[in-house]
């Protein structure tokens, strides 16, 4: 079965076409600048040159049409007929409390996703456009939605509720949802497979550290707690996001600086984190470079970032009364030896011993970076959210 995976944003869209017989990527690409007269479709097919096409794409329906055209193109395509696409999987950021796992798209499911627009105003409407655009281009092809929040729906109440008036939870569903669930789910499965032990038997902390960053405590094979909350602003310090802070800072700053809600929101989401402290960049590679050149602010940003990460790992070890496996994934987690080393440095009291030689090796494979004697196994696991979406889509459509 060939499965098309789609991640639709408001003005862009990414896609991968999988052959599920051997889980290989047949083609991947993106559509950028949807809504403009010079939209760009880019497609990569393993072993061939990249194809680029610039044309007017005013909406998602046309965007999906161009993707299908590209996939079935006589010269650049990989499919002979459009009918070869037997299922489509979508990434959806917010599944609220309703969706605890991936589901087949039905009218009721679409209605629920719409009801969740309030909780993810930037993402869910765009995903919905992707779903309807596929419907009009590939009528009758089953679609599956995979939610970023679904994996964390297993969190117990003490993890997901905020200590604020409960009426806010009842009225507006204000609670912790967590994000990056697809990635935490995928890497925890991979880690257990790598160690050849059942996931249920391991106490694990997975650190998804990219532009956004979150940590998840996994116990009995399920998400037990995670660092992001109602929105992806909570938790770890990130590239441009503050992560945890005293909520009183918000009204205090608004008053002192005469800020609007939108301004303080943008300050915490786009002007904080590594960017704010270093004054240089939100990109960890540039922070490390500047730090090595002796930049004090870059060093401070790095120290704050890794200190906050270490605190979360420690807190989750306490929350689970133990830790067997620590996993690093995503852009920074997979590539920054410095961040991994600094995060692990203060965890020796748990019996964690990092193998610095193993940590320094660059690779695209799942690998162990702790010593053989370390009480906690530390792994680097490359994430692959698209593959998990394709797998979920494949299995749901097959069982239909």
């Amino acid at each position: 079965m060939k499965v098309l995976v789609i991640n639709a944003g408001s003005s862009s869209l990414k896609y991968q076409l999988y052959n599920m017989q051997n889980e290989t990527v047949l083609a991947s690409g993106s559509v950028e600048r949807i809504g403009m007269d010079s939209s760009i479709v880019t497609q990569e097919v393993p072993g061939r040159d990249e194809t680029r096409d610039v044309s007017e794409i005013l909406d998602h329906v046309t965007a999906i049409k161009r993707v299908v055209d590209m996939l079935t193109h006589a010269e650049h395509g990989v499919l002979e007929r459009i009918e070869e696409i037997e299922a489509v999987g979508h990434r959806v950021v917010h599944g609220g409390e309703v969706f605890k796992q991936s589901v087949l798209v039905t009218d009721e499911v679409k209605l629920e996703i719409r009801r969740l627009f309030d909780l993810a105003p930037l993402h869910n409407p765009a995903h919905m456009m992707g779903i309807t655009a596929v419907e009009s281009n590939l009528p009758g092809v089953p679609q599956v939605v995979v939610f970023d929040t679904a994996f964390h729906q297993s969190m117990p109440k003490e993890s997901y509720l905020y200590p604020i008036p409960t009426v806010l939870y009842r009225r507006h569903k204000i609670r912790r949802y967590g994000f990056h669930g697809t990635s935490h789910h995928y890497v925890s499965d991979q880690a257990a497979a790598f160690l050849e032990q059942p996931l249920e038997s391991l106490k694990m902390v997975t650190c998804h550290i990219g532009n956004g960053a979150s940590c998840t405590a996994i116990k009995d094979g399920k998400s037990f707690d995670t660092s992001m909350g109602l929105t992806p602003l909570e938790g770890l310090m990130m590239g441009t996001r503050s992560g945890d802070l005293d909520p009183a800072i918000v009204p205090f700053t608004m008053n002192k600086e005469e800020l609007l809600l939108s301004e303080v929101n943008s300050m915490l989401n786009k002007h904080s984190g590594l960017m704010a402290v270093s004054g240089i960049s939100s990109d960890m590679r540039e922070i490390v470079e500047a730090m090595e050149d002796g930049d004090k602010n870059a060093k401070l940003a790095f120290d704050m970032y890794t200190y906050r990460l270490r605190k979360y790992i420690g807190a989750y070890a306490a929350a689970m009364n133990g830790l067997d496996v620590l996993v690093f994934t995503a852009g920074v987690g997979e590539n920054s030896t410095h961040v991994r080393a600094a995060a692990c440095e203060g965890l020796t009291f748990l019996g964690l011993e990092l193998d610095h030689e193993r940590n320094a090796v660059r690779s695209r494979q799942t690998r162990r970076i702790s010593t053989d004697n370390s009480r906690i196994t530390v792994l680097v696991v490359p994430t692959n959210e698209e593959l998990l979406i394709a797998r979920d889509t494949f299995s749901i459509v097959q069982d239909k």
Binding site: S11, G35, M36, L58, T240, E257, L259, L260, S262, E263, V264, S266, M267, K270, H271
Partner: protein
């Protein structure tokens, strides 16, 4: 027909604010002014305004670049033909507006909505300059456009239901502001009520009942206005307040609209508020009270 490209004719304070807001919302903007110098100056002012927003953490450098890339200065009315909507924001003078509307009308196919940002003039009269008066409508934004999410949608006598519905959809769905429908009447709702409020405050001041500072505090703190009537007038520009009152005084013929003597005196003295640095209060270049 979805609006993707908007023409803005007249790039004064309101034109700049409207162009900046539209580009921020992701629309392509074609901006036109009388001269190259004026348009260059307007673009510079928009850039300055975006920089101020970056200082307030409302925007990032990347977002600023995106916004600026969507604003295209043009020098030929014929180019407006590719827009779905054209908004004129030239000075509040009937003859100038009539001339501009006729010029836009000549260059744009009949399905293009032609909106005027007038705050006091008759839409029906403005529409008479168009060969398709049914596509002419009022779209009254309030300064600062970026922050104030209200637009008065003004129907002239001949404005068609289709034009109104498309405009309302644009206001509420595309640029995400609240649109209120008003029928043609001098000052509509906002200008009429707020100018009376300011004028009455001026009378209170004239009568020596309280100082400007205290009157402002009374309304700001007592009734949760963001600014009191005098700072509000300073921010609108005292000349604009005077002009609006004069039009309403003339059109309604009621004494309550007669502009206060203090207001006239200050306008004659060139103390126009924020834009000259001096009005009832003093302001720095960034428009902050000093």
């Amino acid at each position: 027909m979805k609006v993707r490209k908007v023409g803005v004719v007249g790039m004064g304070t309101m034109g700049q604010g409207i162009a900046e807001m539209l580009a921020f919302k992701g629309l392509e903007v074609l901006a036109i002014e009388k001269s190259d110098e004026k348009i260059t100056q307007a673009i510079r002012m928009i850039e300055h305004s975006l920089d101020k927003q970056i200082e307030k953490w409302a925007l990032t450098q990347t977002e600023k670049k995106l916004v600026m890339n969507r604003i295209h200065p043009i020098n030929n009315y014929a180019e407006l033909a590719e827009c779905e909507l054209v908004i004129e924001t030239v000075s509040e003078d009937l003859d100038t507006k009539l001339q501009i509307i006729a010029e836009i009308d000549k260059n744009c196919p009949p399905e293009v909505i032609l909106a005027s940002n007038t705050s006091t003039l008759s839409l029906t009269e403005l529409a008479s300059a168009s060969s398709h008066p049914e596509r002419v409508i009022g779209m009254h934004f309030i300064h600062p456009v970026f922050k104030i999410d209200l637009v008065e949608i003004v129907r002239g006598l001949k404005t068609s239901e289709d034009t109104f519905q498309r405009t309302k959809h644009f206001i509420e769905e595309t640029i995400d502001k609240k649109g209120i429908m008003v029928f043609e009447s001098p000052g509509f709702v906002t200008t009429r009520l707020i100018c009376l409020h300011i004028n009455e405050a001026l009378h209170v001041l004239e009568e020596g009942v309280a100082t400007a500072e205290d009157i402002d505090s009374a309304m700001r703190i007592g009734y949760s206005f963001q600014h009191g009537p005098f700072e509000m007038a300073d921010r609108f520009g005292l000349d604009s307040v005077l002009a609006a009152l004069e039009i309403m005084f003339r059109d309604y013929g009621e004494l309550k609209y007669r502009p206060s003597i203090v207001l006239k005196k200050m306008v004659r003295a060139g103390q126009l508020g924020v834009k000259t640095g001096v009005g009832f209060f003093n302001y720095n270049e960034d428009g902050e009270r000093i």
